[in-house]
């Protein structure tokens, strides 16, 4: 069975659980996400699909027993506690998405540029463009340049480029933070990710009723 179909099946099987399956074009990736595969990949050879779970804490590529290997990777990650707490909201600014992200470091490490700690925003659309039903449209990121000690909280804002040709009603937004435990080498690890909701207050939604 082709990997895209298996991934879509897994998305159905894990529906209702905290797992997201997203896809990018390996030859035209956006953001700093595919670099997490290359950081984790230690073999000289590779072939698509390139797969990472939680920023490369686990990775695989090429032809494998897709269902068994992929679900095994997901199950192992589900058993791990998060190492950050993320609260975020976004607003639509023209054809861009701007998100305000609050990140609390729950790990025992200080997050900084020394371990390449990074915050990412991923916008994906429920649409079959490549091989699965969820395509990444934008993935802006920012390195965490100010030291974030354990238990400390920081806020930052990330904004996408112009999003064109998308169905806005089918977009989802995720904020996440990752870092490189080994410093300048080795795989990255994701601290936590979170779905980001719209910050539009309910009062704005109802205002048109008042004005009639």
């Amino acid at each position: 069975m082709v990997p895209g179909r298996v991934i879509d099946e897994l998305a159905q099987e894990y529906a209702g659980r905290p797992v997201v399956f997203i896809e990018q074009n390996a030859w035209a990736p956006v953001g700093e996400r595919i670099s997490r595969f290359w950081a984790a990949h230690t073999d000289d050879n590779s072939s698509t699909p390139l797969v990472i779970v939680d920023s490369g804490h686990q990775c695989t590529n090429g032809a494998v027993d897709y269902h068994a290997v992929y679900s095994g990777m997901v199950d192992q990650e589900l058993a791990r506690p998060p190492e950050a707490e993320i609260a975020a909201s976004y607003t639509r600014v023209g054809n861009r998405i701007r998100a305000d992200i609050e990140l609390k470091n729950l790990s025992s490490r200080t997050l900084s540029i020394e371990n390449e700690a990074t915050a990412h925003l991923i916008v994906y659309e429920d649409k079959h463009v490549g091989q699965t039903g969820r395509i990444v449209r934008a993935a802006p990121w920012a390195e965490i340049t100010t030291e974030l000690v354990p238990s400390a909280t920081m806020t930052l804002t990330l904004e996408t480029p112009e999003l064109s040709g998308v169905d806005w009603s089918k977009l989802h937004v995720i904020a996440l933070a990752d870092y490189r435990p080994g410093g300048e080498s080795g795989p990255y690890d994701m601290l936590q990710a979170a779905f980001v909701g719209s910050a539009v207050p309910a009062t704005q939604l109802y205002l048109p009723l008042v004005q009639r």
């Binding site: 897994l10 990018q24 035209a28 390139l50 305000d100 490549g130 995720i174 990710a193 979170a194």
Partner: protein, 51 residues
Amino acid sequence: MRRLALTLILIFLLLSPGYPAAAQPERSGSPEGAAATQERLVLFESFMTFG
């Protein structure tokens, strides 16, 4: 009449269960916002050949 309508709308907003939630940042969970606890949200990313 207009004041009455505004009052009713205000009462509706205050009583609406979605009012405070809509203005709150969303935490980790499914796209439907089902999960609110701080469990790990696992991110599976595939990089495919499109063709």
